[in-house]
Symmetry: C4
Subunit: 272 residues, 4 copies
């Protein structure tokens, strides 16, 4: 992850938009990153749908999930999810909470997601569940109190993700790019696992395979490829985050994919 | 909801288009709003597919579903759905009737939709069914007679929605934004509930959770976020309703999401 | 349907593209219309994917499915489907043969599609099946011989559609617009019926309801609305057929949906 | 397939993008072609997501999957899949390895894909499985060692495709266009077969039908139609590969589909 604040805010805005564009987030859900130099702080957007987040929406929070500066906008109600996990897990550098359609059947039926293809191994095995009702009784299911956040972090333990009954999931990573890959692969795994059921019992990966395939999402080969692909899809949809005001030089978030400019392409079309 | 007629007509056109773009409405279905100052009237478009509705298509109707002014265009055949519900339910300010693919399996199998995730609670519990055949025998299933509309309104009772066997659903709200959220969350809930069945029995929310989570869709935090998100998606698809003729000032229905104009973006692309 | 040849060719190209854009046709499938003045002829495109068909691709065929003029391009191998049905059914004015994903599970499992919602009634009840193997043994499943076409037409009988085992479906109509609606509603019905199965036995319409709802697709109210909607979606995708060379005046296939021109919209965006 | 290297590289880039755009490939998967004049070599892109591949990304490899020239970029880790199949199967001119969502349930449940509609016959019958664990025990499931590639090629035998347990599939063809069609039809077949299960036991094609329908994907009628259609869809998405630098004349990869230029269309829209 970038080690200066403004680059990290830009990458965080991009991560939010990629996860929204790939169907992990919708109007809801949020992604955070630990502060690049102060491990006692984290970065999270003001309350806004992820596909719309700009670098300038990113705010700093303490691990108590209090804004470092007085906020001028609504904040996410559930930011304790982030603060409590950063407090409990020094290795975690990025967190996403979501209600992706692919994982909802598992969160609702209370059935475990198990790795059924190599990339699904990046979420690891024995994914835990957390049922807010067990400890807190009737609530509106939002995770808003510090003790709710701490309880969720305990359920997460040393895992990469936790399913939240009747609510969604929370996924963690050692960096934003690892997190984005893991969250997307986990949704694909859930989708394949559900549909494989129609054919009979899905055969999950062997434990040894899960261990070995579990780091696939970190291979430079894989990270470079996925990040370029998801960014390109976002750009093709016209949904890249704006350049921060301070930036002077033209941004190059996505590698050049074509030597034909849009203008040349238009001209070529007319010629036919 | 806006308290003047032209702003409400604009919001109603937008609500129609959002619900169409989010997959609740298609060539069919219609959304209405109660008149902002005369509770004995309601606003509804002339007969037109929701994604195409413009503020100028919006007409006024009495609660008998008669047009206040002689119509120059086709009217929806099923407008008694709206009139009869406004007559029976003074608290209802907005109504949508739809055949969303997500709810159709439930309307066809006669199986209840139950809240299975927190946002699904906004439709409440014990959703009623209405089978037109029970009272009216063989029909073409359109709700066109006043007595059919009144029968449907009775089945709705004090609920937020009613499933119509072999036909679709009708959903009500205390305002257009609440209605739009509820209709979309109900479709998501139906989709998750159906797919969770493949994993075993879905575990619905506890009754206390449904009560507490039932108002989530009304939180300013939530309404602001969803409305901005759904409007942005509609605008990205080039499907925003046109400005009414009277409007002089540039409209700002969607908050600014980028400081880079499309022109600058094009220039930046060429530079690469 | 238009009563002159060039207008009918334009409507036929549009019908092909609408059915492709709505997911009934893909690289394959074809739509025909009976000749407007000579009932012993029909119009069908040269062999081309439906989304690409232009009015100038439309050719005339005799009911023996021979081209009236020597063809300069590949012809569809399965055009006897059209010729044999026009010969057997004087009431039929338009035919589509397709492999829509929605109907394929029924064609494969050999299970009947039954009307499960009001618009699904437009395909009628007791839809027949036709299994090419019964009469012709092993084939490549294409319907290419006159006797295969006649056998299919016999299986269709007086119905509105016939399912073809391990192959697809053929649907007929009294006109192109009726045909387009019926084909789309049939796909929706198949999709809802399949998914309703996950909830238990779907409850089909009562026989009396099927009769009464069967003509819904012909209501001017409905035809106007659907045709405008599907055309607008096609236009928004940039996939409208080109104007025929002869046409001088600007075409107005889709009613004006916005008083804000694209140019004004771009200007308004820049201003923000 | 083209018999000169630069045209084949262009067609290979296009094949990659078509398969990505049609949902067979995503961030992962790769397509190769045998060298047009040296059967002991094959062409494959540098490590990159298929939708982004340009002709200039295409590199030459020996059948040991070593790059002919020292590479300047990351290479796909799994290129032995291609080399070992070209070595074992002189008739194979093109190979794709993928994790298409449509086939994943079968690769996970270990259940065979059988031809259930005429175009599905192009993958043939008795498709084999290959389980990397059987011979190699715990791995990360990537096929990276020569002995793994050779084992996979043995499992493929003389078939057109092999399903890889908990991983994906590999499909081969006598040319790039045949390969693209086969891979797409195989995904459609898998999707239809899975959904037909909800209705009861799918009825596969008779063995004689599979033989006769198995070459449908090679009919000029079919190849011309599909290639035009898939290319047009790719172009409409703005995702055609760039022209190679050397090319001087305007490319005409997609036949002219409209006599109205985009510019005329814009003008026509403004006029309304």
């Amino acid at each position: 992850m970038p080690d200066n604040l403004s680059d990290l805010a830009a990458e965080l805005a991009l991560a939010n938009r990629i996860l929204a564009h790939e169907g992990v987030l919708d109007a809801f859900g949020h992604v955070s990153a630990r502060h690049p130099t102060d491990p006692g702080r984290y970065l999270l957007s003001r309350s806004r749908s992820p596909l719309l987040i700009e670098p300038e929406d990113i705010l700093e929070f303490t691990l108590d999930s209090e804004p470092v500066r007085p906020p001028k906008a609504h904040l996410y109600a559930e930011r304790v999810i982030h603060g409590c996990i950063y407090a409990a897990r020094p290795d975690v550098m990025a967190v996403v909470h979501h209600h992706a359609p692919a994982v909802m059947p598992f969160a609702i039926a209370g059935k475990p997601i198990v790795p059924v293809f190599h990339l699904g191994a990046t979420v690891g095995e024995d994914l835990p569940f957390w049922d807010q009702h067990d400890e807190f009784g009737d609530t509106n299911l939002l995770v808003v109190k510090p003790e709710e956040g701490r309880s969720l972090a305990r359920a997460l333990g040393s895992h990469c993700a936790v399913l939240m009954n009747r609510h969604g999931a929370t996924v963690v990573g050692g960096g934003l790019k690892e997190l984005v890959s893991r969250a997307i692969f986990m949704c694909q795994n859930a989708d394949y696992q559900l549909r494989a059921l129609a054919l009979g019992a899905p055969q999950p990966l062997y434990r040894g395979e899960i261990k070995l395939a579990g780091t696939l999402g970190l291979l430079p080969n894989v990270v470079t490829r996925t990040w370029e692909y998801w960014s390109m899809r976002l750009e093709a949809a016209g949904a890249m985050p704006p350049r921060p005001l301070a930036a002077k030089a033209p941004r190059r978030a996505v590698p050049k994919t074509s030597r034909v400019t849009p203008r040349e392409r238009r001209k070529a079309r007319r010629r036919r």
